[in-house]
């Protein structure tokens, strides 16, 4: 009883913590002349929101963020799949060292990685380009993709593939007809991680993009320092919206996966 009660309180608090900012953004974004000590704005208006939404800079930043997120997701799957498969399925010496090395980008401060890579990217001409930014996003993204997929492969039974192989499927056909459907939930979760991490990347974009690659977080930060709460609120809502949509669309894969009937994420 008491444990249940405490747990409920915890849930309510966690919910408040997650939703309160969005509510506040909503209040600011859809009102004018909303000042302290008003609890709820007295003048509602969608003008700010629509102006911000039709603003060319906002639209460009939104599209660029979507593009970079998509490219990063695809690249990370391409690079992460073979690595995850090997790590998940093959026993080899020094595996734990490899796992530890993979973890390094998540604990090393991104400033250090960013500035170090900035020098390299300047020399190779990648600094200030969209491709350069996409590549640097792989640094924080890859560990998550490899971990998600390798945990899928750790419970993966290659006998399904053998079965397809002896029934006449070539290696390529095996991948498309058996492997992919079997690990699809894991792929969805990995893609989700990749996209979201790329989506919310500020520092690495700033360091490598050098102010020439304006993604949504970059625009958001400059707006915040501009000091206009309405514009900030609206931009924040635009920033959060795609994430919420993606999460809702993929929630069933986060809960279960079809092969094992267990949680899709076991890190």
């Amino acid at each position: 009883m008491i444990r249940q009660f405490v747990w409920n309180i915890f849930l309510v608090l966690a919910g408040l913590l997650l939703f309160a900012p969005v509510v506040i953004f909503g209040l600011y974004g859809f009102s004018t002349r909303y000042f302290y000590p008003q609890l709820i704005p007295s003048y509602w208006s969608a003008t700010t929101f629509l102006r911000q939404l039709t603003d060319a800079r906002t639209r460009q930043a939104l599209i660029l963020s979507l593009e970079i997120g998509t490219v990063v997701s695809c690249l990370s799957l391409l690079v992460g799949y073979p690595a995850a498969r090997t790590l998940g399925m093959r026993p080899f010496r020094g595996k734990s060292v490899v796992y530890m090395l993979l973890f390094v980008p998540t604990v090393v401060p991104p400033v250090a990685t960013g500035i170090g890579l900035n020098i390299l990217f300047l020399r190779t001409g990648l600094a200030g380009t969209v491709l350069g930014v996409a590549l640097v996003h792989l640094v924080p993204v890859l560990p998550y993709v490899v971990f998600t997929l390798s945990s899928v492969f750790a419970r993966y039974d290659p006998h399904y593939e053998y079965q397809a192989l002896v029934l006449g499927a070539s290696r390529v056909q095996v991948f498309w007809t058996v492997t992919l459907p079997l690990i699809f939930p894991g792929i969805v979760v990995a893609t989700l991680f990749a996209f979201l991490i790329s989506w919310s990347q500020y520092l690495l974009t700033f360091l490598i993009g050098g102010g020439q690659v304006i993604t949504l977080p970059i625009l958001l930060f400059s707006t915040v320092s501009g000091g206009n709460p309405q514009a900030t609120a609206v931009l924040s809502l635009i920033f959060v919206a795609p994430v919420v949509v993606i999460l809702i669309a993929t929630s069933r894969y986060l809960a279960t996966d079809r092969v094992h009937g267990q949680s899709g994420i076991t890190l």
């Binding site: 053998y162 079965q163 029934l167 006449g168 079809r258």
Partner: protein, 346 residues
């Protein structure tokens, strides 16, 4: 149809000190079912994986008919393997699972539907096309897996302990199903099993795999009644061996002379074996009987198992008609019927 020839196969794994296959040769005739019987870890499954191409041998050759398979990719070999678990694709229904191989070959929808129906009739599960693997029992799943394997008309069917995870009753009916279908389609089949009963009940010939080589191969009843070597005899459930000097029709054992079948052979040292159900437990002396002391009696339902100490040796006797109860330690006689004693190679 298709003859399968395994020619001096060698295979080692880096993690194991001894080679899994040490020059294994086997010839499976067209349309024949050969059971590959061996203890776990004897490399039975490796043989099947090598035939399909999932594993490569270190040396040796695999031939289907006259054609060497080693450079043919797995999906073009026409050797279909069934595992201990059915491994039905969980995201496909029964019809799509069975049709999997046909679809790869570009079969039309009508063709697939009629073939799937025909196969489900064959494995005695008509009308379950729309079910998903998770809704089927273990036995049903194996039947569907069998249908999925047979629908592509494999040149050779490989069965890797396909029944060992099933209940005894279901196992027996599925043994019959597999045997019937195999005969009906006249399909060359290699069955791997560690179960002596299964090998004997299902095969045309049984091959015993020990230490990476074929220890013995013969018709099941011949292999069961007269295994050629001591190791083969042990695997066939024989534990009584008598070693001594053969002279004429006499075997001079440490605990006395025994009459054996066969005569006129020149004297030599030999080991004879006898099946436990052929030994007879007596309470009085008789021809070819040896005195001993009763050590242990285990009632087993269909038979009773007696353990008798003769000198320093223990002899196990399987009696299908129970001998009147006697306390442990009673002096008894064990009769060795000469017609059932046979020589084995050590």
């Amino acid at each position: 149809m298709t003859r399968v020839v395994l020619d001096r196969l060698h295979k080692s794994f880096p993690t194991q000190p001894t080679p899994v296959l040490a020059g294994l040769s086997l010839d499976v005739h067209s349309g024949e079912l050969v059971a590959l019987l061996g203890p776990s870890g004897s490399g039975k499954s490796t043989v099947l994986k090598i035939i399909t191409g999932i594993e490569q041998p270190d040396s040796g050759d695999v031939r289907l008919g006259e054609q060497s398979l080693l450079h043919v990719p797995p999906h073009q070999r026409g050797a279909v393997l069934m595992f201990q678990k059915a491994y039905l694709f969980p995201f496909l229904n029964v019809a799509d699972n069975i049709g999997f191989g046909l679809k790869l070959r570009g079969a039309s929808k009508q063709q697939m539907r009629s073939e799937v129906g025909r196969m489900l009739e064959l494995v005695e599960l008509p009308g379950i096309e729309r079910k998903f693997p998770g809704q089927l029992s273990g036995g049903q799943q194996q039947r569907v897996a069998l249908a999925r394997a047979l629908v592509v008309e494999p040149r050779v069917l490989l069965l890797d302990e396909p029944l060992s995870s099933l209940d005894t009753a279901i196992r027996h009916t599925l043994q019959e199903t597999i045997r019937r279908v195999q005969r009906e389609l006249d399909i060359t089949t290699l069955l791997v099993t560690h179960d002596l009963q299964e090998a004997i009940a299902m095969s045309d010939r049984t091959a015993l795999l020990l230490d990476g080589m074929i220890e013995a191969i013969d018709r099941p009843e011949a292999l069961f009644q007269r295994p050629p070597t001591q190791a083969a005899a042990r695997f066939m459930g024989i534990s009584t061996f008598v070693t001594g000097q053969v002279e004429g029709a006499q075997l001079l054992a440490p605990w006395g002379a025994l009459q054996v079948a066969g005569d006129g052979e020149r004297p030599h040292a030999a080991t004879f074996a006898i099946r436990p159900e052929h030994l007879r437990l007596l309470d009085a002396s008789a021809p070819n009987a040896v005195p001993g002391a009763l050590q242990d009696v285990v009632y087993n339902g269909e038979f009773t198992l007696y353990r008798v100490a003769i000198g320093a040796d223990d002899v196990r006797i399987k009696a299908y008609q129970a001998v009147p109860h006697q306390p442990v330690g009673t002096p008894v006689y064990v009769q060795f019927p000469p017609e059932h004693l046979f020589e084995v190679l050590v």
